[in-house]
Symmetry: C2
Subunit: 150 residues, 2 copies
């Protein structure tokens, strides 16, 4: 069993998110799911993770409502793992991590995979943190405050 409730009790949404995802492997599984992977074997080949670990992570993600286990789309008796709406909502997280990695961990010209807009084939616009009325916000322009139950 994966360590449930490490940060779960926190009032911080970041902590709960982190706890729900489970670990880094899980995040890479989600990334692969966005890239079109569906089958156990696809994830395993793509990630190179041990099968027992993959089994455990998939189970956690399904239990957490991020993935869903459905009958295989090719008519075989096997099952596939697809993103639920909640899983798809992780898209900005993956995109944010991807952009951060692109900007900080690749030498100019170094080959890397890239996420592009299907329609134009062009890279995405950088994510922007905006205020309710659309101003661009830096970390210093924001603050955390507590919302008591209302």
């Amino acid at each position: 069993m994966v360590s449930r409730t490490r940060f779960d009790d926190s009032e911080c949404p970041v902590a709960r998110s982190v706890d729900a995802i489970g670990d880094w492997w899980s995040l890479l599984i989600v990334r692969d799911a966005f890239d079109g992977s569906r089958r156990f074997g696809e994830f395993q080949r793509s990630l190179g993770v041990a099968k027992n670990i993959l089994t455990a992570r998939l189970r956690t993600l399904v239990a957490g409502g991020v993935l869903e286990s459905v009958p295989a789309s090719d008519g075989s008796a096997y099952r596939e793992y697809v993103l639920t709406p909640k899983g798809k909502a992780l898209f900005p997280v993956i995109v944010a991590l991807r952009q951060w990695g692109e900007q900080n961990f690749f030498a100019p010209g170094e080959s890397h995979s890239e996420l592009v807009d299907c329609r134009q084939g062009r890279p995405l616009r950088a994510l922007e943190v905006l205020s309710a009325d659309g101003r661009l916000l830096n970390p210093d322009d924001t603050t955390v405050h507590k919302v008591s139950s209302q």
Copy 2:
């Protein structure tokens, strides 16, 4: 020593980001840094993490260029840990995780911390993944392709 290079060799920026951050504790340290924590003790009290783990994580984050160790701002001989520009660039990642957590792991009315715009005190706008020309993109509207070294 923390497991350097688990995913480092990957061409996927997501994997390199994940590897650079190290683990979930590190991400929560970064979150606290955005919230204004600077001192060892502040992180320790806020997170409740064991001190040896915190020591290791801070070292990893400094080595990775996410945090920087600087003389304390209050003139004491202690040191503080502050975000580098690279660390501040993680802001969208934290915001994305926070928004995902808010939307999926809190009952309506349940108390939680909230990130607000300093100027107006209002919650932020939800992050949007946009194409280069500003269209709103869903996961299905994007695809990953390889960029060979050019």
